[in-house]
Every structure is written in C-alpha cells, then in structure tokens.
Subunit: 174 residues, 2 copies
Amino acid sequence: MASEGTQSRVIQAIVERRSIRHFLEASVDRSILIQALTAASWAPSGLNNQPWRFALVWEQDLKDQLAGLTRYSAVLKNAAVLVPVFLDRESSYDHLKDCQAVGAATQNLLLALHDLGLGAVWIGEILKNADKVLKLLQLPDRLQLMSVVAAGIPAHRNQTSHRRPVEELIVFEK
Amino acid sequence: MASEGTQSRVIQAIVERRSIRHFLEASVDRSILIQALTAASWAPSGLNNQPWRFALVWEQDLKDQLAGLTRYSAVLKNAAVLVPVFLDRESSYDHLKDCQAVGAATQNLLLALHDLGLGAVWIGEILKNADKVLKLLQLPDRLQLMSVVAAGIPAHRNQTSHRRPVEELIVFEK
C-alpha cells in the first residue's frame, strides 16, 4: 500500500532508535534542533491544543546546574543541548490526554533527532526536582516539567534494547 | 549526518501524517496491524516498563457498540479495526511518566500505520465512557483506557491541519 521505497522506512527508524547516553564533544546547530522541534510540534493533540513547550539549554554552566538535579548527571553534562519539555497548563484541557500528547511530541522529537543523525535520551528521573528546574530557568508555575531530552552527536550506536513480544501486549481481540 | 536518502524521510512522515476519519469499505490484514503494534512497542518508557496494552476490535457488532460510546460514532463504525489503547496499572511505576510513554507508543502506532499506507485517528473523547468500554470488552480495572485508535484504508488524504510556529513554543533559551 505504501509506495515502493518508502514502506517501512519510518518503522525501521522507530525500531532502530536507541536511548543515546554518550556523546562526542561536538556542537549541534540550532537549525537542526529547530527542525526536530518542528517535527515534535506535528504530534496530534486533543482539540489540536498543542500543549507542549520546550526550553533549549546550550550553555555549559547551565547544563551543569541541571545535571546536579538528576542521578544521570554525566549524561546531561556531556550532551550538546538539553531540551526540558513542559506541559503548558494554560493550554491544557484534560491532563490525561495532554500528558499523552506531550509524550507523542517527545517521541517525534526523538525520532526526528535520530533521523537527523543525532542521538538523544528521554530523562524522566529529573522530575523529582521539577520545582528546582523551573526555578533555575526562572519559568512560571503554569509550565509543568514533563522530561528533559539530552541530545548530541552519538559517541557510538551499540546500545541494545529489548521489548516484550507484541502478542503479549494484546489484551483482547474479537 | 544522516546518510543520503534517509534524511528527513521520517520527519516528512511525521509532518505529513493526518488524522483520517473517512475510510473505504475495505478490510485490513491482521499482519499489518501486528507490524504497527510492534512499532508502537518500540517507544521508550521509564525503566523500560512498557506499560502499554492494546485491544483489537474487528467485528462490526462490537465496533458499533463502541461507536455508541462517543460522539465520533461514524468514525468508529466505518473503521476497519479499532484499537483501544490501555495503560496497565500493574506495569506502571509513575503515572505521569507512564502516560507519556503510552502517548509515545500511540504516536509510533499512528506513524507506522501511515507508513504502511493506512489512515488512523486518535480518539480521546471516548474516555468519558472508559468504564463502559472496559465492561463491554470484559477487561479488568487494572487496565486504564487511554484512547481508541480507529484505522482503515483512507477514503482521501485531503485533510489539512496547522501548527503554531515553533519559535512560539520555545519558552527559554540560553
């Protein structure tokens, strides 16, 4: 059904993408990030409310301070850029749906970065210090921290992963 | 950075995908759905807990009953297959992170279906009747309904959509 040559390219990227936690000491162009954030913004959302927001942290000093708020500090310190991801409560209409929408946008971001030759990892553990992240970036309470995506040029791509067999995920069929 | 010919293919799919609400009267092979659900399962999740679960509803009578639980009944009735998506509370460790993971998996599902030539739409409005969906499918309370994805062969692809300019989404940069 998909036209020849396109079929499975997207699925291949989805399956091959890995969480990248080791980066080269190399910078990343802002224009690349903008492409990836644009892809993120093309996630679906209820009533098309687009509740996702992003911060871009490039400066080493600020990356180091964010790194101090998670046990994954080495990842954050060495990334070329950190992208704290937020839910904008003022754009929100249903928290359960909006959290999923932000998750969909974050997955788009990861897939786009992968597609652009970058590596990234979705850090959730820093949410324990969500209030400190907001304070550090001097952002208002209406922004709820959802994750921090750390991105850069991958030092390697030999990360392995695994998933449960898909048939185990199907709880009903008729 | 991405190798020639692969760059932007994934981003293109992300940006071109639309919510499809009109389907041809044509069936969809189970094997296609399995490919798409496998892609869904390759979403990232905290601690790799993979909290997503799926139901597959093919029978017209059951589709009609689900259709009665949402204002988007025409979409559900005419889809080739309905995929109620759940969060398995027994696999859950942090509701906020797990909701985002299910959103990421659902986005993978939509992208994979698009890649395979199908169309689909993410229905959240049916969550108002989440308890009735569980009862109809005779599923246990440990499964939290997160959405229903309706999929089929698109009747057309002339759906338009729009997004806010990406610079408006950036709340901080330094």
